[in-house]
C-alpha cells in the first residue's frame, strides 16, 4: 500500500505563465531579454520625450547659436551650458533631438506597420478565399514586390504623391505620405502568410459543413484563420517594424523623408553627415547609434519570437 | 552455438528535453542469430525504430544511449568513435528506411549513388564499381539495369525505388540489416514482392535481418523469431509460430487477437482498452499494468524481467514460477492466454 501523496494545489495562473514554454524560452535567452528591455526603454523614452527631454530642440525661440557645436558632457566655451550628447550647429541639444527624433521614427514606423498589416492581411484573406484569377493576380504582385527593395517602392509612391499634392500642402503631408509609401512597400509578407493559412482552412471539412447548413462560409473561416495566423503575423509585424524604421530613416537620409522642422533619426543623420570630415563627430554618431540599437533590439526580439512561436522547433 | 550477429544488452536510450528525460528504450536485451530474421512489432512509439537507430549509431540529439551495450559479432559498437562507427555503417550493418522516395537524393542518378556507396567500402575503381552496381540492380529485380542505372529516382515507381534502396543497403555486403518499416509506404500489391526480395537476398548472403514493422502479417510470413515491444521494453520474444499462435504476454495476446483473419471463424476483433502510455508517463512496475486484465499487486510495483518460458522469453510476472500468484496455475498457459 503506497502512501498517498500530499495534495498538491494546481499551479496558479502566474506560475503557469512563468513556466510556460514561451516565457521559459524567453527567460533562458539572455540576449533576448537584454534586447527586449532595450527596445522597451527606447520606445518609452520616445513616447515620453516631451517629459524627459531637457530642451525642446525644435522651438526656434529657445535656440541660441552660441550654444552650437558643444562637445558632449563638456561645458560650452561661450555659454557654459553642458549638453549630455553635445549640440549641433544651430545650438540644438542632441539628446533632446534624438528623443524627439525617435518619436517621429517610431511613429512613422508603427503607423506604416499597421497599414501594411491591415492591407496585407485583407488581401491575403481575399486571395485565399476567392481563389482563381484574383488570387493569382494578388499573389503574383506580392511575389514581384517581394523581390524589389522596399526603398524603390517607397520612393516611387513618394514621387507620385509629390507630383499629385500641391506644393503648399507638401510639408504637412510628408508624414502621411511616408506612412503610406512604406506601408505599401511592405504588405506582401502578410498577404503570403495569411493566404496560405486561408487556403488550408478553406479545404477543411467544416467549411463545407457550414455551407451545407446555409451559413456563409467566410465568417466561419475567419474565426479559424485569424487565430492561426496571429502568431506568424505578429512575428512579421515585429520584424517589419524594424524594417520600417530603417526604411524611414533611409528615405529621410536621402532627402525625401521627414523635413528638418520635424526630423526623424534619419534626418538627424543627414545633418550629421556634413560634419563627418570636420570633426564634430557627435552630431552624427549618437543618432546613428540610437537608430542601430532600436532596429537591432526590435530585430532580436522578433527573431526570438519567430523561433518561440515556430511549432516545428518546439 | 555460434555467436549471435547482434547482441543487445540492457540498452537504454533517453531523450533529454526541457520537460524531463524520456526513456525511449528501457533496458532492452535481445540477440539476433546469424542468418536469422527477427521481427520487431509494436505500436507507434513503442521503440522499434529507436532500437534500430541505436544499433546503427544514428540516434540524433537530444537522444543518446544512456546505458547498455550493442555488440556486433562480439565486438562492442555502441561506444566507438564517430569515424570508426562510420566504417561499420554500410559495410557491416545496413539499414533500409521506410519511404523510398525520400531515401534517395533526387538530384543524383541512381547509379551515382550506388557507385558512391560501393567505392566508399571497397577498393574498386569506377568501371568495376559500375559493373557491380548493374549486377546488383539486376539482382534486386530492376529490368534493363544497364539502362536504368543512369535514371533518376523520380523516374522509378515506388516499388522499384525500394528495390534500389535494398540494393544500396546490401551493396557492401553487411552482416546485418535493419529494415525499418520497408513496406509501409508501398502499395499492398508490391509489399509482398519487396518482403520476399529482402528475405531471399538475405538468405542467399547469410545476412541477418531485423525487420521492424507494425504489420503482423508480414512478420508471420517472413520472420524466424519475433519481439513484441511495448513502451520501450520487450514484452515477449520468441519463435514466430509460437508467439503468434499462442502468445503469452497479455499485450501480445491482445495484439494477436486484433489481427483480422480471413480463414476460420469470424470472431470479434479484440480491442485492448486504453492506449500505450506516453514516454513521459510510464507507469511504475509493468508498463502494461493499466490496461492488463490480469494485473495483480506485484505488477504495479516491480518491473518484470524477461523470463524463459519454453523456448521463448516473456516479461510478465504471471510466468514467474518462483513466485506464483495465489490461485493461479502458471503452467496452464491455455487458460491464461484465453
Amino acid at each position: 500500500m503506497s502512501d498517498e501523496p500530499l495534495p498538491v494545489l494546481p499551479p496558479s495562473r502566474m506560475a503557469r505563465l512563468w513556466d510556460s514554454d514561451l516565457l521559459y524560452s524567453f527567460r533562458s535567452s539572455p540576449i533576448t531579454v537584454v534586447a527586449s528591455v532595450m527596445a522597451l526603454v527606447l520606445v518609452l523614452a520616445a513616447i515620453f520625450a516631451p517629459l524627459i527631454a531637457p530642451y525642446d530642440p525644435f522651438d526656434p525661440a529657445s535656440l541660441d547659436l552660441s550654444d552650437g557645436f558643444s562637445r558632449p558632457m563638456q561645458p560650452n566655451e561661450i555659454t557654459g551650458k553642458v549638453f549630455w550628447l553635445g549640440s549641433d550647429g544651430q545650438g540644438r541639444d542632441i539628446f533632446s533631438a534624438i528623443l524627439y527624433g525617435s518619436r517621429v521614427s517610431l511613429l512613422v514606423g508603427a503607423a506604416s506597420v499597421v497599414f501594411s498589416l491591415i492591407l496585407g492581411v485583407a488581401l491575403g484573406l481575399v486571395a485565399g478565399y476567392v481563389g482563381g484569377r484574383t488570387e493569382a493576380l494578388i499573389m503574383r504582385i506580392a511575389d514581384i514586390q517581394l523581390s524589389f527593395p522596399a526603398i524603390l517602392v517607397a520612393l516611387l509612391v513618394f514621387g507620385v504623391a509629390r507630383g499629385l499634392i500641391p506644393p503648399a500642402a507638401q510639408e504637412q503631408a510628408t508624414l502621411l505620405v511616408l506612412v503610406i509609401a512604406i506601408g505599401l512597400a511592405n504588405w506582401a509578407q502578410y498577404a503570403r502568410t495569411v493566404r496560405g493559412s486561408t487556403l488550408v482552412e478553406k479545404n477543411k471539412v467544416y467549411v463545407d459543413a457550414a455551407r451545407l447548413i446555409g451559413l456563409k462560409a467566410w465568417p466561419v473561416m475567419l474565426k479559424h484563420v485569424l487565430p492561426n495566423v496571429a502568431g506568424p503575423v505578429l512575428v512579421i509585424a515585429t520584424i517589419n517594424l524594424a524594417l520600417a524604421v530603417i526604411e524611414e530613416a533611409t528615405l529621410s537620409f536621402l532627402g525625401v523623408g521627414m523635413p528638418p522642422t520635424q526630423p526623424s533619426l534619419g534626418t538627424l543623420i543627414r545633418f550629421g553627415q556634413q560634419y563627418l570630415f570636420s570633426g564634430e563627430w557627435w552630431i552624427l554618431l549618437f543618432p546613428s547609434l540610437v537608430l542601430i540599437l532600436l532596429a537591432l533590439s526590435i530585430n532580436l526580439f522578433g527573431d526570438w519570437l519567430r523561433d518561440a512561436l515556430n511549432p516545428k522547433l518546439r | 552455438m555460434t555467436q549471435p550477429v547482434i547482441s543487445v544488452n540492457e540498452l537504454t536510450v533517453e531523450f533529454v528535453t526541457r520537460r524531463g528525460t524520456l526513456r525511449a528504450l528501457d533496458k532492452v536485451s535481445f540477440d539476433v542469430a546469424r542468418g536469422e530474421v527477427l521481427g520487431v512489432v509494436g505500436e507507434s512509439g513503442a521503440g522499434k525504430s529507436v532500437t534500430g537507430s541505436a544499433i546503427i549509431g544514428l540516434i540524433d540529439p537530444p537522444g543518446r544511449i544512456a546505458g547498455g551495450q550493442v555488440l556486433l559479432s562480439g565486438q562492442r559498437v555502441d561506444n566507438l568513435s564517430p569515424d570508426a562507427m562510420r566504417k561499420i555503417r554500410g559495410k557491416r550493418i545496413g539499414m533500409i528506411f521506410q519511404d523510398p522516395l525520400t531515401s534517395l537524393n533526387p538530384l543524383y542518378r541512381v547509379g551515382e549513388q550506388l557507385i558512391e556507396t560501393i567505392q566508399t567500402h571497397t577498393a574498386l575503381n569506377a568501371a568495376d564499381a559500375r559493373k557491380r552496381a548493374i549486377a546488383l540492380l539486376d539482382e534486386v529485380g530492376i529490368p534493363a539495369p544497364e539502362r536504368r542505372i543512369d535514371g533518376y529516382p523520380h523516374e522509378f515507381s515506388g516499388g522499384m525505388r525500394q528495390r534500389v534502396v535494398i540494393a544500396l543497403a546490401l551493396c557492401a555486403e553487411p552482416e546485418f540489416i535493419i529494415a525499418d518499416e520497408p513496406t509501409t509506404a508501398l502499395d499492398v500489391s508490391v509489399q509482398a514482392q519487396i518482403i520476399a526480395l529482402i528475405k531471399r537476398l538475405c538468405k542467399e548472403r547469410g545476412t541477418s535481418v531485423m525487420l521492424v514493422t507494425h504489420d503482423m502479417g508480414v512478420i508471420a510470413e517472413t520472420a524466424d523469431r519475433v519481439a513484441v515491444m511495448y513502451a520501450g521494453r520487450i514484452a515477449e520474444i520468441g519463435p514466430v509460430r509460437d508467439v503468434v499462435k499462442q502468445p503469452l504476454h497479455p499485450y501480445a495476446v491482445g495484439l494477436m487477437g486484433a489481427i483480422p483473419s480471413i480463414e476460420g471463424d469470424a470472431e470479434r476483433l479484440v480491442q485492448i482498452p486504453g492506449s500505450m502510455p506516453r514516454l513521459s508517463n510510464i507507469p511504475r512496475g509493468c508498463a502494461f499494468n493499466p490496461r492488463c486484465s490480469k494485473a495483480f499487486d506485484r505488477c504495479f510495483v516491480e518491473r518484470p524481467e524477461l523470463i524463459d518460458v519454453g523456448g521463448r522469453q516473456v516479461a510478465c510476472h504471471l510466468y514467474d514460477q518462483s513466485k506464483a500468484p495465489t490461485g493461479q496455475n502458471p503452467t496452464d498457459k491455455a487458460e491464461i492466454a484465453a
Binding site: 503574383r140 514581384i144 523581390s147 524589389f148 527593395p149 526603398i151 524603390l152 520612393l155 516611387l156 514621387g159 507620385v160 507630383g163 499629385l164 530603417i246 530613416a249 533611409t250 537620409f253 536621402l254 532627402g255 525625401v256 553627415q273 563627418l276 552624427l284 546613428s288 537608430l291 542601430i292 532596429a295 537591432l296 526590435i298 530585430n299 532580436l300 527573431d303 | 544514428l58 564517430p82 562510420r86 566504417k87 555503417r89 554500410g90 545496413g94 528506411f97 525520400t102 531515401s103 534517395l104 537524393n105 533526387p106 538530384l107 543524383y108 558512391e116 556507396t117 566508399t120 567500402h121 533518376y152 529516382p153 523520380h154 523516374e155 515507381s157 515506388g158 544500396l168 543497403a169 557492401a172
Partner: protein, 327 residues
C-alpha cells in the same frame, strides 16, 4: 521543359507590360507633361500645339501602345528637369551602376555561400555563432550607415580609399569603366562592400537555414546509414540540394540589386542610375522616373528568366517534364 521556359517568358512579358502601365500612368497623369515641359508661362497656343504633338488628345489605349512602342525602341522622352533625352541620360549613367551592381552581387554571392555553408556545418562553433550574430546586426544596419561608417574608417581615419566618386574612368565605346585604373578600382571597394553587405547577410542566412533543413532530410540519413563520410555528405549531397532554393531566391534578390544601389550611390556620390532616380523623385521628373522603373523591371525579368533556366539545368525532376509523382 520547353513549356516551363515558355511559361517563364510569358510571365516576364506580363510583368513588363504591367510595369509599363504603371510607368505610363505616372507619365500621363502625375502632373501635367505639357506644363512641365513648357513652364508656367507658356501661351495657350503653345500648349495646345505641344499637346497635339505629343499625341495627348488621342484615346488612352492608343497612347499606351505608343508609349510601349517608344519604350521598346529606347525612347523615353525628355527629362523635365535636365532637358535632355532620358535615354542618353540612362546610357551615360548605366556603366557606373552596372559595374557596382555586378561586383557587389558576385561579392555577396561568393562570400555569402562560403560563410553560410560554414555556419551550417559547424553549427555551434564560436566562429559560426559570430558570423550569424554579425549577419543579424547586418539586417538591422541601414545601408547608408554602413556606407558612412566605412567612409569614416577608410577615408577619414585611415585615408586609404576615396570617399566619393568613381575615380578615373576609361572610355571604351560608349561604356565607361573604372576597372582599368587604380583609382577606379580603389573607388569601387567601399561602395561594393556597402551594397553587397546586406545581400551578403541575406544570402548567408538563407544558405545556412536551407542547408540545415536539407541536412535533416531522409536521404541524408540514409547516406549516413550507408557509411558515406560526413564531409562528402555535406558537400556533395547537402550542398547540391541546398543550391537550388538558394539560387532561385538569391537570384531574384540580385535582380533587384540595381534598385538597391539607390542608397549606396547617394552616400558615395556615385554617378549612377540610382542617384539619377533619387534626383528625379525630388523634382518629380516623371519621364526619368518611369524610364528607371521600366529599366529595373527589365533587369528583374531578365534575371528571373536566367534563374529559371539555371533551375531547370540543376533539377533533373524538371527536365523530364513531370514533377515526381509517387506511384
Amino acid at each position: 521543359m520547353l513549356a516551363y521556359i515558355l511559361r517563364s517568358l510569358m510571365q516576364g512579358l506580363v510583368v513588363m507590360l504591367a510595369v509599363a502601365f504603371i510607368a505610363f500612368s505616372m507619365f500621363r497623369f502625375v502632373g501635367d507633361p505639357v506644363v512641365n515641359m513648357l513652364g508656367q508661362e507658356a501661351t495657350l497656343q503653345d500648349r495646345a500645339e505641344l499637346t497635339e504633338r505629343l499625341g495627348l488628345n488621342d484615346p488612352v489605349p492608343l497612347q499606351f501602345a505608343r508609349f510601349v512602342a517608344d519604350a521598346a525602341r529606347g525612347d523615353f522622352g525628355i527629362s523635365y528637369r535636365q532637358g535632355r533625352k532620358v535615354s542618353s541620360l540612362i546610357l551615360e549613367r548605366l556603366p557606373a551602376t552596372v559595374e557596382l551592381a555586378v561586383l557587389s552581387a558576385i561579392f555577396a554571392f561568393v562570400v555569402g555561400i562560403a560563410f553560410g555553408v560554414y555556419a551550417a556545418i559547424r553549427r555551434d562553433g564560436w566562429l559560426a555563432n559570430l558570423v550569424m550574430s554579425i549577419s543579424l546586426i547586418g539586417v538591422s544596419l541601414p545601408t547608408f550607415l554602413i556606407g558612412i561608417g566605412l567612409i569614416y574608417i577608410f577615408a577619414v581615419e585611415l585615408r586609404w580609399l576615396p570617399s566619393f566618386g568613381r575615380g578615373d574612368t576609361v572610355k571604351i565605346g560608349w561604356w565607361t569603366t573604372g576597372l582599368l585604373t587604380v583609382s577606379g578600382l580603389k573607388s569601387l571597394v567601399l561602395p561594393v562592400l556597402t551594397l553587397g553587405f546586406l545581400q551578403l547577410t541575406l544570402i548567408m542566412r538563407l544558405v545556412r537555414s536551407e542547408m540545415l533543413e536539407v541536412m535533416r532530410a531522409d536521404f541524408i540519413r540514409f547516406a549516413r546509414a550507408r557509411g558515406i563520410p560526413e564531409r562528402r555528405i555535406e558537400f556533395r549531397h547537402a550542398l547540391r540540394n541546398t543550391m537550388i532554393p538558394v539560387i532561385t531566391i538569391a537570384g531574384l534578390q540580385l535582380g533587384g540589386v540595381i534598385a538597391f544601389a539607390i542608397v549606396t550611390e547617394t552616400v558615395f556620390q556615385w554617378p549612377g542610375l540610382g542617384a539619377l532616380f533619387v534626383n528625379a523623385v525630388q523634382f518629380v521628373d516623371v519621364p526619368v522616373m518611369s524610364a528607371y522603373l521600366l529599366f529595373v523591371a527589365f533587369v528583374f525579368v531578365l534575371t528571373s528568366l536566367l534563374v529559371d533556366l539555371i533551375y531547370v539545368a540543376l533539377d533533373p525532376r524538371l527536365r523530364s517534364g513531370t514533377t515526381a509523382l509517387a506511384k
